[in-house]
Amino acid sequence: MENPNINQPGYEIPPDIQNQVAVTTLDRVYNWCRRNSVWPMMFGLACCAIEMIGMAASRFDSGRFGMEVMRPSPRQADVMIVSGTVTKKMIPQIVRLYNQMGEPKYVVAMGACASGGGPFKEGYTVVAGVDRFIPVDVYIPGCPPTPQALLNGLIAIQKKIDNEPIKGSRWYSKEPALEIPVPILGPDLIDPRKIGLIKEVCMQKAASSASDSLPDEKDQSQSSAGSQAG
């Protein structure tokens, strides 16, 4: 895509070599290459995935921006489009996929559900936004967002890439990337980063309701009976 700034390095080019030699900065040419081959991960969650396919199809054609190469493997992908409702059963997989992506990596939260739970937020197995576990670069509103909106979101990622200096970017430094701890499925979703808090609150609850704990105990016995039957 056209980038008016690519060969304007900020100092004067002698008139006799203008139009023959392009002078640019490493950052600019490197990011120009990167931004025009952003490979999304082929990974659909819910309704939004259909619009994501619509974006890649002929009418909207994300190939115009170099994003048509959908990769099913996280190792080959640059951007993860979280396209739909994130459930507690699915979030361990999503976190694992995110951890497996090579850096630099970007995340787009597509639609209301991925951004904050959306219409299903009150549901008992819905994660209220994927950003509770993985960092999100671009949020796209809509239920589902139109393919145009999704393209706009991906162009926002391109703009972000444009402004990332090689020197200052974390993924070119020597420290290894931090892995996000994978959530565990317990009686409810357990975020390993919150284990202390969970333990504390549950013990308090048990202590305070020791006298009038009938409904809790009943629930617990039902739950354990259920797992035995399974």
Binding site: M42, F43, G44, L45, A46, C47, A49, I50, E51, I53, G54, A56, A57, S58, P72, G84, T85, T87, K89, M90, Q93, C113, G117, P119, F120, K121, E122, G123, Y124, T125, V126, A128, R132, P144, I184, L185, G186, P187, D188, I190, D191, K194, I195, L197, I198, K199, V201, C202, M203, A206, S213, D216, D219, Q220, Q222, S223, G226, S227, A229, G230
Partner: protein, 578 residues
Amino acid sequence: MEQAISIQAPDLAALFPQWAIPDPRAGYQGYLVQPDHLVELVTKIRDELGYDYLTSLTGVDYIEDGKLEVVYHFNRTVGGPGLVVKTQAPRDNPIIPSVTPIYPGAEFQEREAYDLVGIRFQGHPVLRRILTWEGFYGHPLQKDWKEPFYEEEAKPFKSRWPGGVAVRAEDNNPFGDNVQYPAGFNPEEWVPEGDEALYKAMRRLHGIDPDMETDRMIINLGPAHPSTHGVFRMVVLLDGETIVDLKPMIGYLHRNHEKIGERNTWLQNMPFTDRLDYVSSMSNNFGYALAVEQLMGIKPPERAEYIRVMMAELTRIISHLIAIGFLGNDLGVFFTPVLYCLEERELILDIFEAVSGSRMMCNYFRFGGVARDLPEGILEKVKSLVYDRLPRKIDDIDRYMTKNEVVRLRTEGVGVLTAEQAIRNSASGPVLRASGVPYDLRRAAPYSIYDRFEFDVCTRNHGDSYDRYLLRLDEIRQSLRILEQVLRDIPDGPVMTGKPQYQIKVPPGESYGRVEGPKGELGYYVVSNGKPNPYRYHVRPPSFINLTSLADMCKGMKIADVVVILGSIDIVLGEVDR
């Protein structure tokens, strides 16, 4: 069958007075049966009364009576009225005999009723949780079970209306998140049950020493797999490349449709139905509108009926186009057929956007009509599509794919489902009809104005993936035929009975509204207690029940065929998991 089957529904109370009594509650149909006699009665219903098809099975929690109820809907694949049977068990010990040995199609539905309502089915082969996970806390559809973000029993919440103060649900939760744990739960001691139990059970079932490494191998496909059409997971036991056993694992998109539906008002559920089978939202609206209209006893005006049929048939074309296109993906022709199909889909979506304001989530139907009349000029657009463009394009797709050598080699004889298996497993829609059973609700139990149109119920006889593909092409052509008649006959007039209202009054009772959706029979079982919210709101999802047949289709096939077979069933995870 030798003797003619009577068109009248049999009177169970007269036939089996010792077992069944008519349901005495006002607004309820069907018969109440004691759990002890259920298996005997259901066997008789199948073998003597000819009800060979278990349409729907679900649980309801009647907390005031202290009872959990299971509702069975039986039908005959030759058509005619349905039969509703109910059985009740006390809430503190909800044990009901399983009907899975009689109707294998009940397997997943019973697991769902166990998972969500907490009914334990005695004699069920594998009563594991299906939509939530093993170890989940409680049974969510019990009326006294509260979700972590619980605010009030029913909407509209008092905090929002009329006061208008919205509080972030996270702020009321001690963990600041959508979670809750039983008192005294210690996360450090928790050992996740994982899937090891399932793997061991699968090995044991097939006579393999569960602790020994053999050449039988267990492979997981999904939930993040490029060809599982969403977040679907299969656990496959392989002997070399041949499939010995397959277990579908679902629930990765379980977003609590039914629990949210019970908190919502009747009308608030309409946009949620869009998100069930998200490629055919208009059909989903249709079924729900029919179920509630049955309860309210109203009928939409003529023009609205025609608009509804038009939208439902356009939706069917979209859904079948997507199914055909993605079958190509699964065969390895990566994205070429899909692009042809999606091109036509976009044109139909333009019509949806013009009439409803949204491309995918139309939310267009209302109780007693549709939300608004067709905008000017849209009928001409539909006409040019139906008469000119679509028939040509369908013929094109037919020409490119049907005789293609790769398509034929990879689909013919792959994933065969016999007619008996299909009926036994309660399959519906294209999966059932491709096996040679001419059961189409538009004919078998005509709803709306489908009895006025001329069309053929398509069937194919081999029951393999190729036939399911061909059948979808046939059905698109029949849909176009119906659309031609709709466009010819559509009258002028109002599109809504009475005034549009936000809060409708629904008399107490139950009803089961069903339509022939693109994927199969889409049913809505709703119970009203006269309040502004449904007391129970259950969806009979065709994709979910069609999955019961997946294992039967796959056994003996190669692992590469699983993807094709799954593509030929055409599931949508929004509907499977809800």
